[in-house]
């Protein structure tokens, strides 16, 4: 008997960053293929970093992404500082935390309300959401603007900031600007509480697919910057161990590499951070989480919208506090002398764990680079979730199945153009 073959294709996944598609194929009742197809072209960043000064790595890699440029800048800084043996002053690390909060706020609010909420409301896009819930969208735009303002105040501009350097910053911010920022961040907190209560009332479909979660260890607060990685399987290890524990593999249907940690798929991002760092979350965010019944571990990815909201609340509180106490005089950076070395750095981009590794020659020129963004690490976990929801997709008609499958992808806010910067393009039969 020849089994009935059914294929569901989503030609271009909407409301995600970059260009990706989906292909699901059943033979009879068996779901044989689940392909998250990332066809965004390869971007070769690791290749063209070779021969460049390590001091250029932050600004060059920031161009990997227009939503999370800062994640690339700070991760490149961390890796180069590791290679050069540079220790950044604690107050400058606090400035990095403040600035990074801006990126989390703008990226998360954009995803929550403009990209993700339409899924729960059965609407096509943000204009529909704005017609149905104008106050929520207005609030979200104001909060997003506050995130942009942090980036502009500390970085010189909101996208691809120009004030970040290995060792610290080019220039420290101005006291008045920081105070104005802190006022607005505090004013945004009730708006986010409102957004969270709203999103908590959505119908979140059930889905559970257990894979290990990994993030920067919460040694110095909620996962963000740090020298160690923690996992939900109880492991903790230095960032440089990722180089050997994570194996990346090319698959025919994706221009992004698939990553495995200790041989298994794993998930990074808000759900991982929330599970491993909940104790270090801002107190108000923790209290609201308990009230809304969002307690770790959150294993249903459809509830990631709530975790993102709680992270925004956390980021607003942290950023307001840091802005009040940020240094405005003193050296903006510690001295940096390029030399030979190798180093690794990891930080938490809004979407998850991002790590870089560089090898430098005597002049500090990059001779090898490795960049592993969150979306390529999450690809296998997302495909696993699509498999887990397979029976529901099988029952649904094509339009409903496509919609549900896209939602599974969007739950993780994938940043597809980040994920395709890899080094080697292998062409078969060419």
């Amino acid at each position: 008997v020849i089994p009935e073959i059914r294929e569901i294709r989503v030609g271009c996944v909407a409301r995600v960053e970059g260009q990706g598609a989906l292909r699901l194929r059943w033979e009879g009742d068996e779901l044989v293929d689940v392909n998250l197809r990332i066809f965004e072209p390869p971007r070769f960043f690791e290749g063209f970093l070779r021969g460049r000064s390590c001091l250029d790595a932050p600004d060059l890699t920031s161009r990997i992404c227009g939503i999370c440029p800062l994640a690339y800048q700070f991760t490149a800084c961390a890796a180069v500082e590791d290679a050069l043996g540079v220790t950044v002053l604690p107050e400058l690390l606090d400035l990095r935390r403040l600035m990074y909060a801006g990126e989390w706020i703008e990226s998360h609010v954009l995803h929550m309300v403009l990209l993700h909420a339409p899924d729960f409301l059965g609407l096509d896009d943000v204009a529909d959401v704005a017609r149905a819930h104008p106050d929520r969208v207005r609030d979200a735009l104001r909060v997003k603007k506050a995130g942009n303002a942090i980036m502009a105040t500390l970085g010189g501009r909101a996208i691809h900031p120009i004030n970040v350097r290995v060792g610290g910053f080019h220039k420290l911010p101005d006291r008045d600007a920081l105070d104005a920022l802190a006022d607005e961040l505090e004013a945004c907190r009730p708006l986010v509480v409102g957004l969270l209560r709203w999103a908590a009332g959505f119908d979140h479909p059930e889905l559970r697919h257990d894979v290990a979660r990994a993030c920067v260890a919460p040694d110095a607060g909620y996962p963000l910057l740090g020298a160690r990685i923690a996992t939900s399987t109880g492991q903790a290890f230095p960032v440089d161990a990722l180089a050997t524990r994570v194996v990346e593999e090319q698959v025919p249907w994706s221009n992004a590499l698939h990553a495995r940690l200790d041989g298994a798929p794993y998930l990074t991002g808000p759900l991982a951070r929330f599970e491993l760092g909940f104790d270090r979350l801002d107190g108000d965010a923790r209290a609201l989480a308990a009230e809304l019944g969002v307690v770790p571990p959150v294993r249903n990815p459809f509830r990631s919208i709530l975790v993102r909201g709680l992270e925004v609340l956390h980021a607003l509180g942290t950023a307001a506090r840091l802005a009040r106490h940020a240094p405005v005089d003193g050296p903006p950076a510690v001295p940096v002398v390029p030399r030979a070395g190798a180093g690794w750095g990891a930080t938490e981009a809004p979407r998850g764990l991002l790590w870089h590794g560089y090898e430098l020659d005597d002049e500090g020129t990059i001779t090898a680079a490795r960049i592993v963004p969150p979306t390529s690490q999450n690809q296998l976990a997302i495909e696993g979730e699509l498999r887990a929801i397979g029976p529901r997709l099988r029952e649904a008609d094509d339009a409903a199945a496509r919609r549900l499958a896209e939602r599974v992808v969007r739950n993780h806010d994938p940043c597809i153009s980040c994920s395709t910067h890899f080094l080697t393009l292998t062409r078969e039969g060419a």
């Binding site: 409301r15 995600v16 227009g66 943000v126 017609r131 969208v137």
Partner: protein, 164 residues
């Protein structure tokens, strides 16, 4: 307040024509010039101002360098951004209108060819055809911004080609 919003990315060749034209009217009285790379700035403009003149590179049939003055209803509403890096102009307009924006919107579009040809070296700055259109685009913006009873002054101002 009349806001002139120049939309475009400086690193993408002719896409920067919106900012170039908007900068040229920055010193004009009664005008608030904003430069942005993402059409989300259009949402703010429509919510904050009474009248918005959006200056942007457009893809259309006429030859590159043609200046078009368009009203909101002439724009293709089906254009959607492929990436969440940017908001499409029609999405930004729909979003602002849904949020209650009543501002008048005019668009001065400068027709560009292919922004960055695949085989070409990346280029920063305008092509010859589009650069030549800047004075006409500046004039088109001023015609929308200034009171209609003074058309002659308008044209003279345009000929002087301030900043173009």
């Amino acid at each position: 307040v009349i806001r002139v919003l120049g939309l475009g990315e400086p690193a993408r060749g002719d896409d920067v024509v919106g900012p170039v034209v908007a900068e040229a009217v920055r010193a004009d009285p009664g005008v608030d010039v904003v430069i942005a790379r993402d059409a989300l700035a259009l949402v703010d403009a429509l919510l904050d101002a009474d009248h918005v003149v959006l200056v942007d590179a457009v893809l259309a049939d006429p030859a590159p360098g043609t200046v078009l003055t368009l009203t909101e209803d002439r724009l293709d509403r089906d254009v959607r951004a492929v990436s969440t890096h940017v908001t499409a102009v029609p999405t930004a307009i729909a979003l602002a209108r849904a949020l209650g924006a009543t501002a008048r919107l005019d668009v001065v579009g400068v027709v560009v060819g292919v922004l960055v040809a695949p085989e070409a070296e990346p280029r920063v700055g305008l092509s010859d055809a589009v650069r030549a259109a800047v004075p006409a685009a500046v004039a088109a913006v001023r015609a929308l911004v200034e009171p209609p009873e003074a058309p002659t002054t308008l044209v003279d101002g345009a000929r002087s080609g301030t900043g173009a």
